[in-house]
Amino acid sequence: MNYLFKDRLALVWIGLTILTYVSWQLSAWRQQEIQVDLAVSMTVIVLAVIKARFVLRIFMEIGHASRWLHILSDVWVVGLPIALLVALTW
């Protein structure tokens, strides 16, 4: 089971868990609100794509793919929150 602690895997998992907890608390803080809160919405989305990038880079090792594919994965990571922001304010 030592492999769970190789290549910063455990550290990344702890970081992802902490980010998940922070997102949850941020959302729970405004749970009773019935108005749209764009700041909270965008913060949890940005935290989600930050987590997604860690999964792509460290767990999935997309750096092993051809360069055009890991560039496209970064386009997705950056482009998704921008596209969602546009959709949420259209």
Binding site: K6, V44, I45, A48, A52, F59, I62, A87
Partner: protein, 203 residues
């Protein structure tokens, strides 16, 4: 002018060396193309959901409050753990420690099964409470997106089973297949991270 690869005694042209340097050749590109393509397809679902949420925000927020954040956070932690374990399984396989790779793959499947049971339980509870696919647009998106995602989870578990069978059989072991199965499973986790943010956490 020819140059020598550090890994190979064969002579190669400068163009060939430059091509390898640019990582334009990769035996696993098939799975990466599928994964990146799937990310963009799901991205289009996510943007469509955000548009509808913006247009019918009161209805969406009211329905979203019916969802259990407890299930959402539990499922997220389960899939994050599964990704961690399958990443460790691949490290074990690369090191030639097939017993550890097998155990870690089995544990990953255990996490996957936990997610499936939890998600189905959540669905059953919601349906019994009267929130079905036809209740409103929010629940149409909810059942559609989590439904397509759980199909990915089930297929991912099939891939993990194949990985386990290969790890246990010295004749069948194939690192490329193992890496592909693991990469698919990570994608399942990654997509859930965004679904969780959109359906459970957005305000």
């Amino acid at each position: 002018m020819a140059s020598k690869s550090p890994d190979s005694p064969l002579e190669m042209s400068e163009a060939e060396a430059a091509r390898i340097e640019r990582h334009d050749e990769n035996p696993l590109d098939g799975i990466w193309i599928f994964i990146v393509g799937d990310l963009f397809i799901f991205g289009s679902y996510f943007v469509t959901y955000a548009l509808w949420r913006h247009w019918y925000s009161e209805e969406f927020i009211a329905s979203q409050q019916v969802l259990s954040q407890g299930f959402g956070i539990f499922n997220t932690l389960v899939l994050l753990a599964s990704s961690w374990f399958v990443a460790a399984a691949i490290r074990a396989q690369r090191a030639g420690d097939y017993d550890a790779a097998g155990r870690l793959t089995l544990l990953t499947m255990g996490w996957g099964l936990t997610f499936v049971v939890s998600k189905l339980t959540e669905w059953v509870i919601k349906i019994r409470e009267g929130y079905t696919f036809t209740s409103d647009m929010f629940f149409q998106f909810y059942y559609f997106m989590t439904g397509v995602h759980i199909l990915h989870v089930l297929f991912g578990m099939l891939a993990l089973l194949r990985l386990y069978v290969e790890v246990k059989d010295p004749v069948c072991r194939n690192n490329d297949t193992a890496e592909s199965c693991a990469a698919f499973w990570h994608m399942v986790d990654l997509l859930w991270l965004v679904i969780f943010a959109l359906m459970y956490l957005m305000r």
